[in-house]
Amino acid sequence: MEKKELFTSRIGLLLASLGMAVGTGNIWRFPRIIAKYGGGSFLIPWIIFLFLWSIPLLILEFSLGKGARKGTAGAFGAIMGKKFGWMGTYVGFCAMGIMFYYSVVTGWCIKYVTASITGKVFLQQGREYWDSFIATQYQPLFFHFCAMLIGSYIIYKGVRGIEKANKFLIPSLFVLLLIAMVRSLTLPGAVEGVNYLFTPKLSELFNYEVWLQALTQSAWSTGAGWGLILTYAVYMKQKEDIVLNSGIIGFGDYTVSLIAALTIVPVVFALGSAYADPVQLVQEPGPANTGLTFIWIPQLFNQIAGGRFFLTLFFLALSFAAVSSLISMIELTTRIFMDMGLTRKKAIIMVGSVAFVLGVPSALSMGFFENQDWVWSLGLMLSGFFIALAAIKYGVKRFRENFINLEGNDINLGRFFDVIVFLIPVQFVVLIWWWFSQAGGWTDIFSSFSVGTCLLQWGLAIIIFIAINKWLMNQTFEGETQ
């Protein structure tokens, strides 16, 4: 069996894990989702799901990876029995589904580094520049290729590279974001944006979409249910803490999310109110919402002395954060193929090439991109459900004693955790039922945001993974003895 490269320190593992959690999930995705789904009302389910969904799932993922020392498919096979390995394959594939379009977002970040250096981003209105960039098609495609190439190369060099890079990059991104937030909040009219962000409208809490998106945003941003933490935990030392690390990742991610929202949304209200209704601007669907951060951040930095320099630094740090998240997705998929007996080099080349090809439609079409974000971010609910089922099938109390409360853990978990694990499938079933019964569109498989498109894509993946499960498990567990 290949010798696994372990993280050298707690800080290294934590920063690498935070590198996954702090990135485009907070800075690109959170502001546009909270703006679109009701501002203050969104925060209530979002905070609930931190405690009832994301942190418990992070703990389960750390324990599964550390206990099984295998990627997602192998870990499910080892813990639940080989016939349930397809669930782990789905978890890994869901992260892959996100990786295909995530690489496109990483490419956008890299593009904006070059545009900031040349100053071209300041020559047009933010919206015009964004629209013209997306319309070229060849540019998003080229930068998507660059992102996959960089990600695959770094992962080939080993996890020490991630550790070193994140020690410098995460603090710089954080400091730049704080500077941007202070400037944003001191703009005239910014307070209206803060009001929009934090004023809860209780009627919105009866909207299933707010709860659905709050859960998926929480999972998307913290990394809960992706299988990424599970894969990182394969490299953890046996005596490494699980519970506290999960808490730090969850709270850290949420803190950065709030800071990012306090940076982006007030800018729209301060600068956008001159020519449009800011509420319409932040809630507008389509490319304007998808590109909210890319449209407004340059306009914000334009208000700061030395804005071009700071904007370049900002997008540079964001690009590195995005690449660090991307490499953890490549690592996850690579691990699955390595468990099946492939060499690391072959697995990386295969994953990098396939991910580039399957990301091409998202790079070329914003409609396709939005569909993939819809399908696979909601698919994380299913992943979380499967991970909780793995612990339940094994026996939650037994799981807690054998995989969580181990020597070296800073905090041990009591029986309340067992209850929370049982609540994960309950949340899943209630939300799915609420969504399916309210949304309609079951047969509308070609609509970007329908139930049908989700059922079709999840269903296809699951059918294929069940069909190949026996072969996959044989490959995975044969590889162990080599």
Binding site: L43, I47, F198, L244, G247, I248, F251, T255
Partner: protein, 40 residues
Amino acid sequence: MNPSAIIMLVLMGGIVLGGLILALITAMKREKSKSANNKG
């Protein structure tokens, strides 16, 4: 700023930032005591 927004901001900020600070302090304390034990 309207009062409900202020309450929400303080509440949300308090939970996430408070949770983060508490978790970091606990982690540092445990790390210290672990290294002290190792030296001992």
